[in-house]
Amino acid sequence: MPKLTIDGKEVEADASMNLIRAAELADIEIPHYCYHPGLSIPGNCRMCLVEIEKAPKLQIACNTRVAEGMVVHTTSDKAKAAQKAVLEFLLINHPIDCPVCDQAGECKLQDYYMDYDQQPSRFPLPEKNHKGKAIDIGSGVMLDQERCILCARCTRFFDEITKTSELAIFGRGDHNVIDINPGQPVNNKYAGNVVDICPVGALTEKEFRFRMRVWYLHRTTSVCGGCERGCAIDIHHHRGRIYRFKPRFNPGVNDYWMCDEGRHSFPGLQAETRLTSPLVQMKDQLVQETWGEGVRRAASIIADYKRTNGPNSIAAVVDATSTNEEAFAIKQFMKTAIGSDRIATLCWSPPGASGDDELLIRANKNSNTRGLAAIGLSADGLDGLAAAVASGELKMLIAFRADLVRALGEEEFVRRFGALDYMLVLSTDANETCQMANQVWPIAAYPELDGSFTNFQGRVQRINAAFPPPGNAIAGVEAIARLGHALDGVDRPHAADTVFTAMASEEPAFKGLSLATLGEHGLDLAAG
């Protein structure tokens, strides 16, 4: 690997690396706008001009590969003058409407102005060029042509990643604008990514506009639960509310991107229908009770069935959106606290859901299908349970996240499971299945959980709790641990990391893994 010197620091970098990436290895930031590691290199913004010894003029770091013995200066007088000059040029026609711009706080124009420029404007305000503002270009993306610095990240994304070319540059010179072709709005399942990669406030998300100042947002690393791809994301939240999902780089899983369906899935995770208290069916009505009451009630019912009809009169259905830890905790609970081997999974996608595509989207909308399989939960088993209900062997069902009524349709659910005596539903939301339940327990949605998902490729990725679940809702493993303890007095692990540790020792697929070492990109399941 070539060795070079950047700002006096010796760096050893792969020969394929450009100077921006190589400098990152030495913790040196070379400012840039148009360069994006996931896209081609246009070299148009000129922000990354650096001085290279023996080169006659400044070179753009983005389009310069490392070379043995290269000596690079990013803070020399010449380089600093160029950085300052480029910022001055970028800002002369910029509206500087930061107070009403959603990008403020995460805007590279603001950041670099403070870092590299800081000179007063030498351009008279009334003479700025005017262009289109607040243009709805489709797919929930708003365009402000005046804020645009024409770095062409968005056009390159649509040209190179989705290969659909909805956006282009029109006009020339300082009248250049990004725009859609006349009458052809953006209609793209990945459009939100252009908002992410826009370094300024030119492209903003309709749903996010004017909702929240970005400096109030906290970021929690997680994984999108929208499908079995499991795109790495950051959850941006404030006071227990999610304001947006942003993709997080994970090579081989989602690279830099995510789909709009996943991006806009968070309102469904914090809907009005969220459950906040344990409920029990009383005179055809669900009424609130405490966790203590609920757990004691469920434990005594389970004990009754166990005694009268045997352990196999009780079954569990685990939804394939459950975390690895939840699935493992239930499996263990069924085995040790009840002794039942009736455990099925529910893996379903709503009708009309998007199918597999060539980029990220998977037809299977269940975030942890592969994880459940790796834990050894059978891919379906619902037919077997239905048969056991029909034969009268199965009396009680614990539905974990599984919205059976919605998945099967009410008629089919009643036909198969209508004869059940008792149903305990652990759910995030008050859904139709809850209406059919004898007991309902509120559990945390995945943004409120520590734990992990295993994507369809077998990548185990960590999720982190952004904030606590609403009301009296608790983590699913905690609820299971409480029920287990009420049944047999055994203390079960109820924190994600301890459950994971137990899982790693019990389940061969998770051998050698631990929650703490999954890292930002996750780790693959053990082979075999």
Partner: protein, 429 residues
């Protein structure tokens, strides 16, 4: 002096195939086809010291030698006829009056670099020229000087002509390639250079028309003959485009190294209306201006003009007399580059417009003295910091006009109006 590039002045209807052949046309092609190996052609052109006439003055033979010998991809030749530098009008005459010489040059160049397809990229406005050139191409095809198995040599070549849509940037060689490929003419980053990755990702030579017109003569008469015309390092016959406040503006063929003084006062018949000379831009509007004192000392060849502080570019010689408002002249130049900047790189996109705005204010007497520094800074910050040299093309005039005619710029500020417009009534007019 013998006319070489402008033989059409002596030979009526030279554009016609029979006339061209009757006057020794396509002899060089026969020689190249049947008596020379490709590398011999390259070497002959290399030895002739022919330098590109498109403005950059790069040695043509050297450029040809950059084409990989064992390329698995096809090799292309692009003939740059997107002549749009203000003050330049040589290519249009060549296309109109001597198209077969261009075709002959193209075939020889293709033979030298192993290209079997050549594209001629014509400026959008060249409608008549395209018609004439296309007719000549058709004649060449009909007589097997183009097409399959040219003159039985086994060498195939097709020429396609392509007209641009009226953008100066398409004359920049990589902008031309992008435009040729049907894209927006955004110049490309180099490396890779066109010789490695040019048109459609294949090795490509881009040559100016005037450069290619020289090639048949070099093949016919040899490198030594060619080098004997003008200075050895920058030799050959040259087309000078003389315009501005001059008695006899027009296109003149003269040997390289011809004194600018003689070009203006002898060939050009002196300054219009007997006025005094104020300044000369020697190479098209992109380049630094010479004051009258500087101009009379310069010889017109690439190296001499460079040594004197400007560039010969396309030899678009623009003469300005003592009545010229230099602020207005620079404003006109700035307007052009502002209009023609493709807008790809930040400094050029924003800087050209900024400079034009400053000059508009200065010329109208609304400027401030500090605007001169701002304008100079903006020009300096543009120069050398962009993908192509369009930014430099405005930067260089600004950086030469402002110091050389500073008193005029300051006079505009002090008077609050243009001193060349004497009354406010005239100003309004």
């Amino acid at each position: 002096m013998e006319r070489i590039l402008t033989r059409w002045l002596d030979i009526p209807d030279l554009r016609k195939f029979e006339v061209y052949v009757g006057n020794g046309g396509y002899k060089a092609l026969r020689k190249a086809l049947f008596e020379m190996k490709p590398e011999e052609i390259v070497n002959e052109v290399k030895n002739s010291n022919l330098r590109g006439r498109g403005g950059a003055a790069f040695p043509t033979g050297v450029k040809w030698s950059f084409i990989p010998k064992d390329s698995k991809k096809p090799v292309y030749l692009c003939c740059n006829a997107d002549e749009s530098e203000p003050g330049t009008f040589a290519n249009r005459y060549e296309l109109e009056f001597d198209p077969h010489c261009i075709i002959e040059g193209i075939v020889i160049a293709c033979l030298a670099v192993g290209a079997h397809t050549a594209y001629t990229y014509l400026r959008g406005e060249f409608t008549v020229q395209k018609r004439i050139f296309d007719a000549a191409v058709a004649e060449a095809y009909a007589n097997n000087y183009l097409g399959k198995n040219i003159l039985g040599s086994g060498f195939d070549l097709d020429i396609f002509t392509h007209r641009g849509a009226g953008a100066y940037i398409c004359g920049e060689e990589t902008g031309l390639l992008e435009s040729l490929e049907g894209k927006r003419a955004y110049p490309r980053n180099r490396p890779p250079f066109p010789a490695i990755q040019g048109a459609f990702g294949c090795p490509t030579v881009v040559n100016n028309i005037e450069t290619l017109s020289n090639v048949p003569h070099i093949i016919n008469r040899g490198a030594d003959w060619y080098k004997s015309i003008g200075p050895e390092k920058s030799p050959g016959p040259k087309l000078f485009c003389l315009s501005g406040h001059i008695n006899k503006p027009g296109l003149y063929e003269l040997p390289m190294g011809f004194p600018l003084k003689d070009l203006i006062y002898d060939v050009g018949g002196g300054i219009l209306d007997g006025k005094a000379l104020k300044g000369v831009i020697p190479g098209g509007s992109s380049f630094p201006i010479f004051t009258a004192d500087e101009a009379v000392k310069v010889n017109m060849d690439f190296d001499s003009v460079r040594a004197a502080g400007s560039l010969m570019g396309t030899a678009g010689v623009m003469v300005m007399n003592e009545d010229t408002c230099m602020v207005d002249a620079l404003k006109t130049i700035a307007h052009f580059y502002h209009h023609e900047s493709c807008g790809q790189c930040t400094p050029c996109r924003e800087g050209c417009g900024w400079i034009e705005k400053l000059l508009t204010d200065l010329e109208a007497g609304r400027g401030k003295i500090e605007d001169l520094k701002i304008m100079y800074d903006a020009a300096a910050n543009m120069e050398g910091n962009t993908i192509c040299v369009l930014a430099d093309s405005l930067s260089m005039p600004v950086k030469s006009f402002v110091p050389k005619y500073r008193d005029e710029f300051e006079a505009h500020v002090k008077l609050g109006r243009c001193p060349f417009k004497t009354t406010s009534a005239q100003q309004a007019a």
